[in-house]
């Protein structure tokens, strides 16, 4: 039971981290129609910048400064890159961000080298959560902090989108950009802010995720594909769908990783004989922990067969 709770907590904290990434990506996508291929690269940059700042000033200033730096970087990318290709349609925009992801991963290697950097959890948060230990559950304090940051961001995002003027303009520009422009709002600037904001979110995810996992040049590609799965499964452009999908995939990963369940084992337990001679034994003997890396993609395939729009998606393309 204790192990179960702790696994669930691991899954939820990973899922919330995924959601921080997916939220920025979804916001940018539903607003501008641009799939930001470099989103995970900004996540990686967030981790590296935070590592650099924390080696100078400590972790807490990095928690604020790194997302801020990513905000300006994202806004600059939109202003001088994306806006230029916007007139040619969505394909060149997507390709531009794709090329950007190539450049960012190489630049990171030029500046910080090819090996993982020693970006560590701050000493204040290094240890298990004490009140959970009373129930025999060991769960790192830093993971708890990660969850708190994600939930705080979630609430802040919701408040900004529904309770502020700029949030209303963003919501209106989602569906009727021309109308909003006609009312006198600077829609390109709103785009720039949204893109910068999405990148800052990705950067923040990098700041809190980089030391929970590993800060290395491969971190963008490992998380990038999963975030895309989250977006498609949740439904393109749906924040609520992305939230559900992030948690589902986070839990799936954390439970999948520790389970030694396999088809062969199940068949044996109900009395069937499954051994090396059985056809397809290579597939049947695989345990859930061995197939864990494929699980999110299997979910993707399943969703595509059952509900091509995604869980809460409304748009076709």
């Amino acid at each position: 039971m204790e192990a179960l709770v702790s696994q669930a907590l691991y899954g939820i904290s990973y899922g919330l981290l995924l959601f921080m990434l997916a939220a920025g990506l979804t916001l940018i996508f539903s607003m501008m129609g641009v799939l930001n291929f470099a989103h995970a690269s900004f996540y990686m940059l967030g981790a590296y910048v935070a590592y650099q700042i924390s080696s100078w000033l400590g972790f807490w200033p990095a928690l604020v400064l790194a997302p801020l730096a990513l905000f300006f970087l994202g806004a600059a990318v939109e202003r001088w890159g994306l806006r230029r290709v916007h007139k040619w349609g969505h394909l060149p925009e997507l390709l531009f961000t794709f090329g950007l992801s190539y450049i960012i991963v190489e630049l990171v290697q030029v500046i910080w080298g090819r090996a993982a950097v020693a970006y560590r959890v701050p000493p204040e948060l290094d240890g298990p959560v004490r009140w959970l230990q009373r129930y025999d559950i060991t769960f790192p304090e830093y993971r708890m902090f990660m969850m708190a940051v994600a939930v705080a961001i979630l609430i802040a995002l919701w408040l900004i989108l529904t309770r502020t003027r700029i949030g209303l303009v963003i919501q209106a520009a989602l569906t009727h950009p021309h109308q909003v422009e006609a009312l006198g709002h600077n829609v390109p600037r709103v785009f720039m802010l949204v893109f910068g904001g999405g990148c800052a979110l990705a950067g923040l995810a990098g700041v809190v995720g980089g030391n929970a996992f590993v800060t290395e040049p491969a971190m963008a590609s490992t998380v990038g594909a999963i975030v895309f799965v989250v977006i498609v499964v949740g439904g393109m452009g749906s924040l609520a769908g992305a939230f559900i999908a992030s948690l589902a995939i986070g839990l799936l990963e954390s439970f999948g990783k520790v389970s030694d369940w396999s088809v062969a084992k199940l068949a044996t337990s109900i009395g069937l004989v499954v051994d090396a001679g059985t056809p397809g034994y290579d597939v049947l003997k695989l345990t859930l922990s061995q197939v864990a890396p494929v699980l999110p993609y299997l979910v993707l395939v399943l969703i595509l067969i059952v509900r091509p729009k995604g869980l809460l998606g409304t748009r076709e393309d």
Binding site: R84, L95, R114, P293, V301
Partner: protein
């Protein structure tokens, strides 16, 4: 070449087209006479394989408007089936000529195109792109899970010279590289012809319609989903051919063959060449292999240069190299190139200097972060730079600053002239239809 002639000349017997195809064949035939060293032959063989792969990719991107991030799945799985077939040939359990191995690869590619394509082509546009990425990651993750078929980290190796001699001629066993080159060249030429022919068929045409306006294609009675699926199956077939040829060429296939790196690479190749033109990806494949094979011999930062090159093309020439060539040919044809010559010279020279300075800084930085153990000095462009002292960095900085200033100056002049010339040509074309 091919695209240009077919656009400029519409005659019952298209002489230009025969000349272009004939010259291409002769070029393929004669290339090894000049590039007969081991390295350049390998380079040519890889270019041939990449040309097929990039063209098959462009059947999706350029002709059907499908941006795929998982095309290596089809070439990679084709390669795995081909290399297993090659092993069976060696073991004597399969009787099949080595020269026709690409058919096995192609069949495997088409089969998996049928399977995965059924899922991916249910959506178009951006979701298609993301789903192909997901499928690609899935196949890559699965490939590490079944070491029996995929060979795990080490991959599967085979000996390409095990089959019976080609047409019974002794000595032609595809052992020597030059024989492999000719095998690739023949398959490459045949594939180019076949893929070009496909663009002229009703399916090829309706694929263009589905790319441009799926709703209208649906109105005239075609199911866009089905058209996309068919194109993906055919594209998977040619990708499988490319994969099998790569398997013969390298005699090893590993999980890397189905990875996102390969999928991204073929996208870069097709786009750099120009996805809107049939011959664009051929050009792109040549440039890409040059970056990936030739340049990677000299620098660790080749992917950075490739990425920057790609982004610059997306920003300033989204039609790729092919569009650049055709636009300049048009200027030449209208005899207005003289006015562009001086601005061109200024822009190109200052861009060259700017590139030189930037490359210098990147190489110096790379040396500092990665090759610390090899001492502070580095040899670049025939000069020795000491990364631990200021002069090397100052030199690079001054170089970049000066070149950037000059570039900006010439860029403005060039831009002005270029727009003027283009407007004059367009006016003339409009007035003289």
């Amino acid at each position: 070449m091919i695209g240009a002639t077919s656009m400029l000349a519409f005659k019952p017997i298209n002489l230009g087209r025969w000349v272009v195809w004939g010259l291409t064949a002769v070029l393929f035939l004669l290339l090894p006479a000049y590039f007969n060293k081991g390295f350049s032959l390998t380079l040519l063989s890889q270019m041939g394989v990449t040309i097929i792969f990039a063209l098959s990719y462009n059947m999706l991107l350029g002709q059907s408007g499908m941006l795929s991030f998982g095309h290596a799945v089809y070439s990679g799985l084709g390669a795995f089936f081909a290399i297993h077939a090659l092993r069976w040939i060696g073991a004597g359990t399969l009787i099949w000529p080595t020269s026709l191995l690409p058919l096995i690869g192609g069949a495997a590619g088409a089969l998996f195109g049928m399977l995965f394509g059924y899922l991916t082509t249910r959506r178009a546009g951006t979701p298609f792109a993301m789903i192909t990425l997901g499928i690609g990651e899935m196949v890559f993750a699965a490939s590490l899970m079944f070491p029996g078929f995929f060979g795990g980290e080490g991959g599967i190796t085979a000996d390409r010279a095990v089959g019976a001699p080609f047409l019974g001629i002794p000595g032609i066993t595809f052992g020597p590289q030059v024989q492999v080159y000719y095998l690739i060249a023949v398959w490459c030429f045949a594939s180019i012809v076949a893929m070009y022919a496909l663009t002229q068929t009703p399916l090829g045409r309706i694929a263009n319609a589905v790319r441009d306006n799926p709703e209208r294609a649906e109105f005239i009675g075609y199911n866009p989903q089905r058209v996309r699926w068919l194109m993906l199956i055919l594209s998977g077939f040619f990708a499988g051919i490319a994969g099998a040829l790569a398997a013969i060429n390298f005699e090893i296939v590993s999980a890397e063959n189905v990875s996102a790196i390969r999928s991204g690479g073929v996208l870069l190749a097709a786009f750099i060449g120009g996805a809107a033109f049939f011959f664009g990806p051929i050009l792109g494949a040549v440039v890409f292999v040059f970056f990936a094979v030739a340049l990677s011999e000299y620098t660790k930062a080749w992917q950075l240069y490739l990425g920057v090159f790609f982004v610059l093309l997306v920003l300033f020439a989204p039609g790729g190299l092919a569009s650049l060539i055709l636009m300049n040919l048009r200027v030449l044809k209208f005899r207005k190139f003289g006015r562009l010559r001086d601005p061109y010279l200024g822009v190109l020279l200052s861009a060259l200097a700017l590139a030189f300075g930037t490359v210098l800084v990147i190489e110096l930085m790379y040396h500092v972060t990665l090759d610390v153990g090899q001492g502070p000095s580095i040899r670049l462009f025939g000069m020795i730079f000491d990364t631990s002292r200021a002069p090397a960095w100052t030199f690079a900085g001054v170089m970049i600053f000066g070149a950037a200033t000059a570039f900006e100056f010439y860029r403005r002049r060039f831009r002005q002239q270029w727009h003027d010339v283009q407007r004059e040509i367009e006016d003339w074309v409009r007035d003289n239809p």
